[in-house]
Amino acid sequence: MKSEVVVLFAGDSGDGIQLMGNAFAQEAAHEGHAVRTFSDFPAEIRAPQGSLSGVSGFKLQFGGDSVHTPGDQADVLVVMNAAAYKKYQNALKPEGLVLANSSGFDGRNAALAGYAPGEDPLEAVRAKYRTVAVDVRKQVSAALVESSLSTKERDRTKNFFVLGLLSWMYQFPQEQFKSFIRRKFAKSEALLAANLLVFEVGHALGETLEVSAAAPVAKAKPAPGQYRTLVGNQALALGLLAAAEKANLPFFFGGYPITPASDILHELVRHRRADRIVFQAEDEIAAAVAAIGAAYGGSLAVTASSGPGISLKAEAMGLAVALELPLVVVNIQRGGPSTGLPTKTEQSDLMQALYGRHGEAPMPVLAARSATDAFDTAYLAARIAVECMTPVLLLSDGFVANSAEAWKFPSAADLPEITTSRPDGPPADGNPFAPYRRDANGVRPWAVPGQVGLAHRIGGLGKEPDSGNISYAPQDHAAQVAARAHKVNRVRRYYEPSACECGATEGEILLVGWGGTYGSLKAATESLRSEGVSVAHLHLRHVFPLPEDLGPLLRAFGRVLVAELNSGQLLQLIRSETLVDARGVNKVQGLPFTTDELREAVFQNSAQIR
């Protein structure tokens, strides 16, 4: 029994690699395995076929409860062409298996991948790894001789042929895959029939090939409940919609296409109803400001973007801070600056989230740690925005956005209630309505147009307390700055006590992380602890304001390591806020941490402090 297996699918972006990977992930999850996935797609939509720049990759790890990441080195590498092999040839364990589509290794493909004339890339594969080569193109065109599909369409079925073969290897029930295919191609009978057929042919081929069925793989022991699979951006969108409904508010989303945030727009527009409006604006500024307009009108308003788009929203966030309206600003981080690495993951916008506005403009900042956690974190972000009358930044990243996981979905009734500060009517004492009169938590009333007797003006100018009338008086400005800061600090009342993943309260090394590195840190910590290393893992959901109990917890460890996919942004914050002499573990390659990288950092540091 293997405790986990890593499969890496790679091929041309036109080969349906992401679909193949996601389908396999869904089936594995459904079979009871823990699953984590990682999409590595090119920024180019249709890079020249067969070229290195057009290679799309999808890695997944499935197995028992030890699975927290998409894995590092693969056990099985599925390559649809020579370029895919070239790109990922070192991503396989030495004893790993290559499943190669030999039709993608012909002379033309070899040349496109940059192999020298006369060089046979398939021979190179065989020389290095255990290899099973199948001419997938020939197999599918033979299987589909009688199909009405065009050559191109037949060729496109290659991915389900490969899935057939893999489902044989891992003994996944065929019927599950077939129902996936039936849902996927429900709209076209011809495509449905063809994909079902090639799937069966692929499965049958397994019997005759020299690949033996793989060793059984461990299953997870998930908590009882109802499950489904979804990816991070989907979960995030559902969390926002759930919050609107629980708060009894209409929902508004303003967006402008940008990778990797666009899928939030795509997901939300699939849930459109009269009380859920999805707006594709002319730019990110308009998307954010339209959301502020909707918030002023009484909706739960959200805007989402990535990288450059978030920079464009900065001024609008300042307005939302000054107006004190609820707004969720979602940043699906990618490699920057500028256009940077649009399809790669990074955590380099933390400082921007904290400080990237003019004036003293604090906003609560929350970070989603995984696909399923994106639901809970989005829900909480929206709840804080509404209940505290503040814009909130919700950070995710390219990795979380696209990674698939099994989700034990909640029952709507069990989600926390969300209340608003909507006043019932004009003040009973007959005084004019005071839009900036705060409650004990510093929250102002959310009166919306249409409410009788509550007409008021709000704006970005300096304000008098209570009335919100324009004021440039020094003490009024100081009071408003302090009141807004106080309100954001009071957001800590929503925090759970800080606790390490493994329950440790002291030890030699503490690995601190935030956001999408959760799985990597967890996997590394578990493997080290199983070897007796004194290490614990703390993962922050609330990066601003930091939890008040953080300092004491950090001080209970010999050394604090802040691991993040940037050059040390949370590290600076932790050092300055807690005065703990924390050290950074950093990576800025557009890629997640590997377990080995983290293990190495822990070993080095524990050697230093001994």
């Binding site: 459904h30 009871g32 998930p222 908590a223 009882p224 409940g225 109802q226 499950y227 489904r228 699979t229 979804l230 559902l238 919609l241 759930a242 409904e245 629980k246 508004f252 303003g254 527009v269 699939r270 849930h271 459109r272 109803r273 009269a274 409006i277 707006f279 604006a281 002319e282 500024i285 308009a286 400001v289 339209a290 959301a291 502020i292 307009g293 909707a294 002023y296 009108g297 909706s299 308003a301 001024e315 609008a316 307005l319 107006l323 034990k408 979905f409 909640p410 709507a412 147009p449 249409g450 007797g453 007409a455 008021h456 003006r457 709000i458 704006g459 970005g460 100018l461 009338n469 324009i470």
Partner: protein, 325 residues
């Protein structure tokens, strides 16, 4: 019967004495009173500039937003709250410079709101730099030897962006301005109103030709639907169309009569183009163009729902679930 005063807020108005904004505010408040507007359902939204201070002075709901972005804010507000009566107040810098993108998209979408653009051909609030409507050669703080930028003709820009309603008026003609505001308010869609506004501090007299008694007659061409284009002292002159070229003719010589003149048809897109571009000595005032087109927020509301789940629980479950016991 409500009066303009009933719609004034308790805030001190802080424009420079003599500023054209006072008159526009007064006419706006009067129009609200004439409309018997419900202050609880009226929202005035502005950007940043002297002009954009207006919401603070109106006793309705109001938002003073950020520079150039009022059209975007209004789009979000109208999409979610089509029950509200929303007005946009903006300036030439606000609407045509920093907010140009939002303005053109608001107009092409046809979000229902009058857009009152106070054009003073200057950046007032920042103390007198040239704006996108400042003329070539205009000397300002940032163009001491004269601006070289070709100005926008706001009406032409708006028409090009797909505006369904275009009007021009001026601060110093209260009655004309009130009529324009009423028409804009009644329009189902984006109603673009360019209001010539005198900034007596930084660009005084910019529109004297259209407001001083003697000059006005020869420069101010009133356009009224179904009426010939006549102007000049005692309507001494008229406008005829020579093919697609407008020409001024003298009606006192005997060659031409009012019957020969161009009859204004506010629904004519081609002629609206000619009027919108007429930006010389003689300029048209009134409603240049008014047509019906679907209102954006109504079209959005009419979109079919895509949600198939009938409850949150169904939405969470999606298409395929399994149970772990």
């Amino acid at each position: 019967m409500a009066t303009a005063n009933d719609y004034a807020s308790d805030q001190d108005v802080r424009w420079c004495p003599g500023c054209g904004d006072y008159s526009i505010l007064k006419q706006f408040l009067t129009v609200l009173a004439q409309l018997d507007a419900d202050p609880d359902r009226t929202v005035v939204v502005s950007g940043i500039g002297c002009s954009s201070r207006m919401p603070y002075y109106v006793n309705t709901y109001g938002v003073h937003s950020i520079h150039g972005r009022a059209p975007a804010l209004v789009t979000g507000l109208r999409m979610t709250r089509p029950d509200l009566d929303v007005w946009v107040v903006t300036g030439d810098g606000d609407a045509l410079s920093i907010g140009g993108n939002h303005l053109i998209h608001l107009l092409r979408r046809n979000v229902k709101a009058p857009i009152l653009l106070f054009n003073n051909e200057i950046y007032g609030l920042t103390k007198g730099q040239y704006s996108p409507t400042s003329g070539v050669g205009q000397r300002t703080k940032s163009s001491p030897t004269g601006a070289v930028d070709e100005p926008f003709v706001p009406t032409a820009l708006a028409l090009g962006a797909g505006a369904t309603f275009l009007a021009r008026s001026i601060d110093r003609d209260p009655e004309h301005l009130r009529t324009a505001l009423h028409r804009a308010h009644g329009h189902a869609g984006s109603a673009f109103v360019e209001i010539y506004q005198n900034c007596n501090v930084f660009h005084d007299g910019a529109f004297d030709a259209f407001s001083n008694k003697e000059d006005k007659a020869v420069h101010f061409l009133p356009v009224v639907h179904g009426q010939p284009l006549l102007f000049g002292p005692n309507q001494s002159h008229g406008m005829v169309l020579d093919g697609l070229v407008p020409r001024t003719v003298d009606l006192t010589e005997g060659t031409w009569s009012a019957n020969d003149c161009w009859i204004h048809d506010e629904t004519d897109r081609v002629k609206a183009g000619i009027l919108a571009e007429m930006h010389g000595e003689v300029r048209p005032f009134g409603v240049l163009y008014a047509v019906q087109r679907p209102v954006y927020e109504e079209s959005v509301a009419a979109l079919p729902p895509t949600e198939t789940a009938s409850s949150l629980d169904e939405m969470f479950a999606g298409q395929r679930t399994w149970e772990v016991l």
